[in-house]
């Protein structure tokens, strides 16, 4: 089941020279309890994707679903069910199947197709997703947070949070560490007394390797790493279900980094929180994520089980990226950086955005944009390497 799912999510910015398509049709899911790693070139839209999912900025189009719950399996043969959903909308058989499972669909319910194997049903109370999975059709309830207003969103905000890339701008220079932790705890009624609050604050600071004395410090009195730990403490103190970690440890030294990653990893199991982990540190992503998504210029180009993707990267960009990873060994200074110009998000190349830099590019690559399709047990967007019969 998914904690978060996006469908064809887009976020565009207007700039003087045109439209920046920062996130350009991303469909992905974060499964409950997993860590989804996201890697990709600087400026490819990772932070924007994270902020859009959390609705810190308004999506241009697409959908964001939160907190999927499995309700029941459709009591219809999958072929038949597909047919009905594709053509007949709310067919009586479909209605009956819902009723049998005590989920009456109201009269104005409507169906829309969302992907090759997924449909969405809306009625006046809920949003349902119907998904074809191997040989059954499963029905889920989800919260569609795409269009809800800020007030409504505030209720979910406690459940989904983000740790930003840059700890400095995320902290208010006028506020002490105490103030930073106090605000969320009070706003979301997490504590009933000052005593309990202090205990909670000190506890979470301790787990982050900080001490009670840091409560009275201002951001400029903390080192870079200490600041980032305060940011993580602030995000975890609300016990969220979903956390976007945007380069959470890039400001930390390796030893503290390892400690915090272990801690984040344990918090994941303990509090049932799922992560979207954005990082440039490929070795780190490899260790921490269950699945890995690779982005290039606003789109996913490859997504699958982390170990599979590492053992056998398919997309030429993924391959080039892995080859550029520096090794901690002064005797191995071999560099194979990706060559070529980084493409412009305002005027993206025609066809596959990676084609101008791709050593395997063919005519079709410059003509058509490849879809992200299933192959080798993962999803790949490449004309040449994205098909199994190649």
């Amino acid at each position: 089941m998914n904690i978060v799912e996006t469908q064809n999510l887009k976020k565009f910015f207007q700039s003087k020279k045109g439209t920046v398509k920062a996130v350009n049709g991303v469909s992905l899911n974060v499964i409950k309890g997993e860590t989804l790693g996201i890697v990709g070139e600087s400026g490819c839209g990772k932070t924007t994707l994270g902020r859009t999912i959390l609705k810190l900025i308004k999506p241009t189009s697409g959908n964001i679903f939160f907190d999927e719950k499995h309700l029941f399996d459709l009591k219809l043969n999958p072929r038949k069910a597909k047919d009905i959903l594709d053509n007949d909308g709310i067919d009586p058989k479909l209605r009956k199947s819902f009723e049998k499972n005590k989920y009456g669909l109201s009269a104005d319910a409507s169906v829309s197709k969302k992907g090759p194997n997924s449909w969405r049903i809306d009625d006046d109370r809920s949003t349902y997703l119907v998904k074809g999975e191997e040989n059954s059709m499963k029905v889920y309830s989800v919260k569609d947070i795409t269009d809800i207003d800020d007030k409504e969103m505030r209720k979910h905000r406690k459940k989904m949070n983000i740790v930003f890339q840059d700890p400095v701008s995320a902290l208010n220079p006028q506020m002490t560490v105490y103030d930073h932790l106090n605000r969320p705890l009070v706003i979301h009624n997490m504590v009933s007394s000052e005593d309990e609050k202090l205990r909670k604050m000190v506890d979470i600071l301790n787990t982050m390797g900080l001490k009670a004395e840091h409560l009275i410090r201002y951001p400029h009195e903390l080192s870079g790493g200490q600041k980032q730990r305060v940011c993580i403490a602030r995000a975890l103190c609300l016990e969220p279900d979903f956390l976007v970690l945007d380069e959470p440890t890039s400001a930390l030294d390796v030893s503290v980094q390892s400690k915090i990653l272990k801690l984040l990893d344990r918090a994941k199991d303990k509090f049932d929180v799922s992560y979207m982990f954005i990082s440039h540190n490929i070795n780190l992503v490899r260790a921490i994520s269950d699945r890995l998504g690779v982005m290039y210029l606003g789109k996913l180009v490859e997504i699958g089980e982390t170990s599979d993707v590492f053992q056998n990267p398919k997309h030429p960009y993924t391959k080039g990226l892995f080859k550029s990873v520096p090794q901690p060994d002064p005797d191995k200074r071999v560099k194979a950086p990706l060559t070529g110009e980084v493409p412009s998000p305002v005027n993206p190349p025609k066809g596959c955005a990676f084609s101008p830099r791709c050593p395997h590019s063919k005519a079709v690559c410059e003509r058509e944009n490849p879809d992200l399709i299933e192959a080798y047990g993962r999803k790949i967007a490449c004309h040449i390497f994205g098909k199994e019969n190649f």
Binding site: G209, V256, L261
Partner: protein, 304 residues
């Protein structure tokens, strides 16, 4: 609080000198001190900062500003988003450096800005020129900082975590630019980072700091293959490398020392597997153990 205690290090001409150490150990304070950019609550109790034989601590703020910062020594700060001015576009901020240190001519300055943006591999230089910091991604801001510093054409560059927000391929290209500058223009660089892989990639010499003091200095090969301070050894071992599981990540036991009330003797002793009685009692001094290898540990001979 004693943020720095007896810190001595030398950056030679044309050398890339790596400075590494746990968060809060005083790396940024070291670099800020060099340029006279410390907060008002900082006091310098003693010591010298010699640059080409001149003690920078004796210079007036005005001289530092006019003749040293930018001209001679430039710096990339640790936090791009707070070091860039939010009310000027990226291009305007780089142009300021160009006008100060390279060219007064308006059109030429404009062209040089675009060249710099290109050099740091930003796509659409003209578009980026017009963008305000909040419209840039983390890595783009960092590259603006780098471009500003490169535009100064100075002789010594202090780079405080300059690539934390860059992806590996752009990082590799940036490191190449630095190596070229070192080779062609004999630029000297003090490179502060947590990233051992980056250190191994470009540094000639490495200094390891711990709790406001120097633990070890050596050439990059010795730091990685023959570390003699227990802390350096721990650091090398906690590099993630290719670990497939978070639980395999090694950490150095214990926590970063408090600088307000630091441990007595060797500041590393509470976390050190080699510690003996003397470590608690007396601070070890930085010992010259090999050609360019210095270490502050009583038991360096046992560390393997």
């Amino acid at each position: 609080m004693k943020a720095l205690d007896n810190v001595s290090l030398t950056v030679k001409k044309g050398e890339i000198h790596g400075l590494i150490g746990e968060t809060g150990c005083g790396k940024s304070v070291t670099s800020l001190t060099t340029l006279g950019l410390l907060d008002n609550n900082a006091i310098i109790r003693g010591g010298n900062i010699l640059y080409k034989g001149v003690d920078l601590l004796e210079l007036k703020e005005k001289t530092l500003r006019k003749e040293v910062r930018g001209n001679e020594i430039s710096m990339i700060f640790q936090n791009p988003s707070t070091s860039l001015n939010p009310v000027y576009t990226a291009g305007e901020q780089i142009r300021e450096s160009i006008v100060l240190y390279q060219s007064n001519d308006k059109e030429e300055a404009q062209r040089l800005v675009l060249d710099e943006l290109d050099r740091v591999k930003l796509p659409d230089p003209e578009d980026v020129y017009e963008k305000y910091p909040h419209e840039l991604s983390g890595g783009m801001m960092q590259r603006i900082m780098i471009a500003m510093m490169l535009a100064c054409n100075s002789n010594l560059l202090i780079a405080d975590e300059p690539t934390t927000a860059l992806d590996v391929s752009i990082q590799a290209q940036f490191l190449k630019v630095l190596e070229e500058l070192k080779e062609k223009e004999n630029l000297s660089i003090l490179y502060i980072t947590h990233d051992m892989a980056v250190i191994s990639e470009i540094c000639d010499v490495v200094t390891v700091m711990y709790g406001g003091q120097i633990a070890e200095t050596a050439n990059v090969h010795d730091i990685f293959n023959n570390p003699r301070h227990p802390y350096t050894k721990g650091l090398i071992h906690s590099v993630p490398g290719v670990k497939l599981n978070i639980e395999e990540f090694e950490t150095i036991p214990g926590t970063v020392p408090r600088l307000i009330n630091p441990p007595s003797g060797c500041r590393f002793h509470p976390r050190c597997e080699y510690a003996q009685k003397i470590c608690k009692e007396k601070k070890p001094s930085l010992e010259h153990i090999d050609k360019d290898h210095f270490v502050a540990c009583y038991f360096w001979e046992e560390v393997k």
